[in-house]
């Protein structure tokens, strides 16, 4: 069963703009996949359909075989807890320190405080921020902030990691560091779907890619569309 499957998904916004046109693709469980395309191609819209932040106008989005559109509103939080989400604008809490940011998903899941602290520190350790757990996010570099976002996304042990332009504001070294962290999680079985406009990054990490152009899936060398 694919981790993510889009079947002829169209997304039209109330102002008439059509971000996706009957897009179909799949990401297999355990895969490290890219969603590529120029700015405005529909990558962010596609990623926002996965945790039901947006709803498709037509077509179906399946996450681990579950039709997202068929979920009751009360079930959506539980879908989101099964995902690790990295947002383009990071969405870090700047009035909380590094450790507290990572603790948030565990608090939401009802993890006991002591166990939550242990797991949050372990996640920070994996992304190399263990020594900065008391720092405020604003004092971190761009790369460190992105690694903090990764720690927050993975701390609740999701089976699918969805990242929207995680290297957009990073230099090539920091971007490579972030991608290496993704690869390490992928190697232990986490499905990773990364949206990026950086073709060089896709080439370097050599994973399968689904390319979007003006909301349509484009197939070609190095890309793959699957229904």
């Amino acid at each position: 069963m694919p981790a993510v499957q889009f079947n002829r998904v169209t997304k039209r916004y109330p102002d008439g703009f059509q971000a996706l046109h009957e897009a179909s693709f799949a990401v297999a469980a355990g895969e490290f996949a890219f969603l590529t395309g120029h700015s405005g191609a529909g990558k962010t819209t596609a990623l926002r359909l996965i945790p039901a932040i947006e709803r498709a106008t037509s077509g179906t989005v399946l996450v681990h075989g579950q039709n997202v559109a068929a979920l009751r509103p009360a079930a959506i939080p539980y879908l989101r807890r099964s995902l690790g989400l990295l947002f383009q604008d990071q969405k870090l809490l700047h009035d909380r320190n590094v450790l507290e940011n990572v603790l948030l998903p565990l608090a939401i899941c009802g993890e006991p405080p002591r166990e939550a602290a242990r797991r949050a520190r372990a996640a920070l350790d994996k992304v190399g921020l263990r020594e900065r757990e008391r720092a405020m996010p604003i004092t971190l570099s761009g790369g460190e902030q992105q690694r903090l976002c990764i720690a927050r996304a993975v701390v609740a042990r999701p089976s699918l990691l969805v990242a929207d332009e995680p290297t957009a504001n990073l230099d090539s070294e920091a971007a490579a560091g972030v991608m290496e962290i993704f690869r390490s999680f992928n190697q232990v079985g986490v499905t990773v779907l990364v949206a990026t406009h950086d073709a060089a990054l896709v080439e370097r990490f050599g994973s399968h890619a689904v390319r979007l152009d003006h909301g349509r899936i484009v197939t070609g060398p190095g890309t793959r569309a699957a229904a």
Binding site: P73, I76, L104, A107, I108, C109, G110, P112
Partner: protein
Amino acid sequence: MRAWLRHHAQCLGATLRRLVRAPVASGLNVLAIGVAAALPLGGWVLLGNAQHLAGEAHVDPQLSVFLAREATRADAARVEAALAGAPGVRRHRFVPKEEALADLQRAEGLREILATLGSNPLPDALVADLAPGEPDAAQRLAAELRKLPNVAIVQFDALWLQRLDAALRLGAMAVGVLAALLGIGMVAVTFNTIRQQILTQQGEIEVSRLIGATDAFVRRPFLYQGAVTGLAGGLVALGIVAAALYALNGEVGRLSATYASDFRLALPPAADLAALLGFASALGWAGAYLSVSSHFHKSLR
């Protein structure tokens, strides 16, 4: 279940810490609610005291049936039977004319006047204590008794009773209206306080919802804040009213002493006060609930 309870405890702790961290803003909110709540609470307390005073002053209405001078014990027994079967009659007693005369003779200055009459001018009588608040039933009973043989006079001060009853009802209604207005005001104040709190925590709320927080999880800390604010406002109102009663009781004591009474204004029983504080807390909770629901309605799911 344990996680749920843990989150409740964390929310309560966070609410109390937030109140302590911003003492001026929190204090002013609580004071605004407390002062507003003090008005109907004070009215309610005064009304309760007035009802208590009326009870102490034997406000329970009495109905007196004076028999004709030629009336027999059988006539008195007939009236007694009518009183015994009537609804709203708490108790009744027969007052023989000899007892009435003896009572009168004990009154200062009347002994000499009665001595000049030669014979007992007083009739046998029956006195009934009626349940308060039922002037119509009392009037119907008086009309029935007047129809009995050898009943000379049935005395019942219906107008006085009706006026007292109406005044107490009016007071209760005024307090009710004031309390309803306060309730709306309290919900509005809490709504606004929580709305401001939501605005300062908008980022946290958005992130929490995006990573899987349920509406209940997001709502819970705000509900605690509303409930605690309402409870604190209720306590302030209670303090204001208690202080006002303390200040008034000196003069009330002097006034009641002139009526040979030791009456003092008092707070309602502890159970009533606890219910009142619970109600204030519930209003705060309701304001917070509406505020968070309004935010949810406007924001993404």
